[in-house]
């Protein structure tokens, strides 16, 4: 055992070490100051972000790249309010996060003291749970509970608010225990009766579809998913959050469904007779008009969060539990009934899917002399890296194109903001991912609009020696919003143009200690990518000047039925 710590701050650091924390993303300030002193002597690495939103997204990137809990630490007041966006982002995407915030001294709470904010109140709606620690003796248990809550059941963000006097309070550290959560008992094993019912339904199905969400990645269930899909011979659709949960080059893969999903994926769900939802939540970007979603399907809904079941769509067979354990149980059940090789062939269904693949492929035109299409750059990057990269994205057209055109082959290689759609996510999330996985190539694929929200974190990357790579797709504006204005507001372009010349991205990158590159012609893409890959001692920013007029298709207008997929503007 190490030496007994003296204060709440020491206890906090001991607790974080006890939880196996290897790095913290944060920014110090008055109220959290005491915690930053023992941090100096701790093996935990601190990564000094340039904005607390950046620190939060870095912690998310870390968590999404590893499956471990990401940790962010900030001061009270503005430090805490700047964390709100990442907290809500992590809540929406079920990312395990622990946020530590300083708070004004206990006696000053409620007095509008300097840098006071009602942090636990603010956090109430954007965390899985939050704590205000009023006695340093509670710290070991509270921190332990926080990590337990963040990482079990449906993962999510947990905030621990610690007043400055509590950080300074003499205390002792003890081995924490989990006695304090009488109401928290996540179900892990699926109910055997439901497992059997699900298999009965799937086995007799003519047109089954596995609809896979981020829960499968959180549960580490990709291997089980692949085995199960083959064993029941059912095609697999992945949501935006689940890209990488199932390999895109698998014969059963249909890609992403929904608003900008592939025609075969979205349409397969529309025609399915059995829909097996695995860790997905029937998000409106997936369902379109709910009443018209999967109208013929009986639904088997597997989720670790009971509140997801029946929230949007009634489930004929609800199964609450961990996706990996349930997939294992489903698999065992199938194999207890028949040999793996005797799966129904469903020839008609697979012929149908193939014909949709052929009739409605993803497509774009790269004119060799014309402006660069983002899709083309993405495909070239994939080719030149063998797809062996962790890619992050912002929010907008570029995000959808990465999701469509990057062929994912493994989980935790795709890190994006799905539920909240947070612009500015890509750069800090990439930094967190790269810090977590220094040996892997981490490439942020960002929009110019998004980049301008958080690019200052590249200073963090440069100074902390975290050599991420960033491609900024400069289409001169908020492409996705402009697309809606073009399509649904008679082409009246309002406040979505950013111009293409300011900032000068390569110069901006160089000023931040990164290497700055620019590519304007399609024939220069490969050399530029190679160049970016050859730099490993500094972050690299590649400005990719792209076609401002390109639109993202397929598309289903908001609230429209998924039967009405537009493959291009002419279909709208």
């Amino acid at each position: 055992m190490k030496k007994q710590p003296f204060t709440g701050s020491n206890s906090l650091l001991s607790s974080l070490e006890h939880e196996g924390v290897e790095m913290i993303f944060g920014i110090p300030g008055g109220a959290i100051l005491p915690a930053y002193d023992p941090l100096l002597d701790s093996p935990i690495r601190h990564i000094l972000a340039r904005h607390e939103q950046g620190a939060g997204h870095m912690a998310e990137g870390y968590a999404m790249a590893t499956g471990r809990v990401g940790v962010a630490m900030t001061t009270s007041g503005p430090g805490a309010t700047n964390l709100i966006t990442p907290l809500q982002n992590a809540k929406m995407d079920s990312t395990p996060l622990v946020a530590i915030t300083g708070q004004v001294g206990t006696a000053a709470i409620g007095s509008d003291a300097f840098q006071e904010a009602y942090t636990t109140g603010l956090a109430m709606h954007c965390t899985k749970h939050s704590y205000l620690v009023t006695d340093a003796d509670e710290l070991p248990n509270v921190i332990h509970e926080a990590f337990h809550l963040a990482s079990t059941g449906r993962p999510g963000p947990v905030l621990v608010d610690i007043p400055k006097d509590v950080l300074n309070q003499p205390t002792h550290w003890y081995e924490p225990s989990l006695t304090g959560l009488p109401g928290y008992k996540p179900t892990r094993e699926g109910h055997p009766k439901q497992i059997n019912a699900a298999i009965d339904l799937i086995e007799s199905s003519e047109r089954p579809v596995l609809y896979v969400g981020g829960g499968v990645i959180n549960a580490g269930a990709s291997t089980e998913l692949a085995e199960f899909a083959v064993a029941v011979n059912a095609p697999v659709v992945t949501t935006l959050m689940a890209r990488g949960a199932f390999p895109d080059d698998h014969p059963l893969a249909l890609g992403m469904s929904g608003m900008h999903g592939t025609y075969p994926a979205t349409t397969a769900i529309q025609k399915a007779d059995v829909l097996v939802s695995l860790g997905a939540r029937f998000d409106d970007r997936v369902t379109g008009k709910v009443d018209a979603f999967a109208p013929h399907a009986k639904v088997i809904h597997v989720d670790v969060d009971p509140a997801e079941i029946g929230k949007v769509r009634k489930a004929e067979v609800p199964i609450v539990g961990d996706a990996r354990l349930i997939l294992r149980a489903l698999l065992d059940r199938v194999l207890s009934l028949r040999d793996a090789a005797d799966a129904p062939t469903r020839q008609e269904w697979f012929d149908q899917l193939d014909s949709w693949r052929k009739s409605h492929p993803l497509s774009y035109d790269q004119d060799p002399d014309g402006p660069i299409k983002t899709q083309h750059f993405i495909e070239r990057l994939h080719a030149l890296t063998n797809g062996e990269a962790v890619v992050t994205a912002g929010v907008g057209q570029h995000q959808m194109w990465v999701s469509q055109f990057w062929k994912f082959s493994r989980p935790r290689s795709w890190i994006n903001s799905g539920g909240l759609g947070t612009m500015g996510f890509a750069v800090p999330a990439a930094i967190g991912a790269k810090a977590a996985r220094p040996d892997d190539l981490v490439y942020a694929l960002d929009g110019d609009g998004c980049f301008q929200m958080t690019f200052q974190e590249l200073i963090t990357a440069a100074t902390e020696d975290i050599p991420v790579k960033v491609a900024v797709f400069n289409n001169g504006g908020y492409g996705m919003v402009k697309q809606w204005q073009s399509l649904f507001y008679e082409g009246r372009i309002s406040a979505t143009s950013l111009g293409t010349t300011i900032p000068d991205y390569p110069n901006l990158a160089e000023a931040m200690g990164c290497v700055g590159l620019r590519v304007t012609h399609a024939d220069q893409i490969d050399v530029t990518i190679e160049k970016s890959l050859s730099v490993n001692d500094r972050p690299v920013v590649v400005e990719v000047v792209t076609d401002p007029e390109e639109m993202c298709f397929p598309m289903i207008p908001a609230g429209g039925s998924n039967d009405d997929i537009a493959m291009g503007p002419e279909d709208l």
């Binding site: 809550l149 009488p182 109401g183 969060d305 009971p306 509140a307 029946g310 929230k311």
Partner: protein
């Protein structure tokens, strides 16, 4: 549609705020709320009467709150419920007797008396209180305050309507 929910929670700061916020976030109105300790140390019980079209999702969302231990929906036919009401009725010495008689019939207790008013304390089912109010309203109600409803599941199989006041 009104529903009565009994929510057992950890007795910790912020729990009530979380529970009530869960309803307000979704645009549901809490009609009545009562919170207090239970026979188990560290556990409180919140009794809520809410207006909501359906309860399944709300119950699950309540369960999702980490400090919530148990959520029970109480069906009117199998529920014992009670409210406490203080009501100040206008009455002068001349009408005092009549008001006092009515109070007696309803087992209401006089707790304050002035030349122009009588203040009564009454507890019982919501119907019992409503019925009492009907009878004293003609004298003029000066002030009224009601507690939140408390409720628990019945153990006997006697219909609640027979043991006083009836159901809602």
């Amino acid at each position: 549609m009104q529903h009565t929910l009994s929510v057992t929670v950890e007795d910790k700061p912020g729990v009530l705020a979380r529970v009530s916020a869960m309803f307000s976030n979704r645009g549901f109105n809490i009609h009545s709320l009562a919170v207090g300790p239970t026979n188990v140390e560290g556990r409180s019980r919140i009794t809520l009467v809410v207006d909501a079209p359906e309860l399944e999702q709300l119950k699950k969302q309540l369960h999702k709150l980490v400090n919530v231990i148990k959520v029970q929906e109480l069906e009117p036919s199998e529920t014992l419920e009670a409210e406490v009401m203080l009501v100040r009725v206008s009455c002068d010495p001349a009408s005092r007797g009549e008001v006092g008689d009515t109070a007696g019939l309803f087992a209401a207790r006089m707790i304050d008396l002035s030349p122009k008013s009588m203040t009564l304390e009454i507890s019982g089912t919501p119907d019992h209180l409503a019925s009492f109010l009907d009878h004293v309203r003609p004298y003029g109600i000066i002030e009224l305050v009601k507690s939140g409803r408390v409720a628990m599941k019945k153990k006997s199989d006697v219909s609640t309507s027979l043991i006083g006041g009836g159901t809602r």
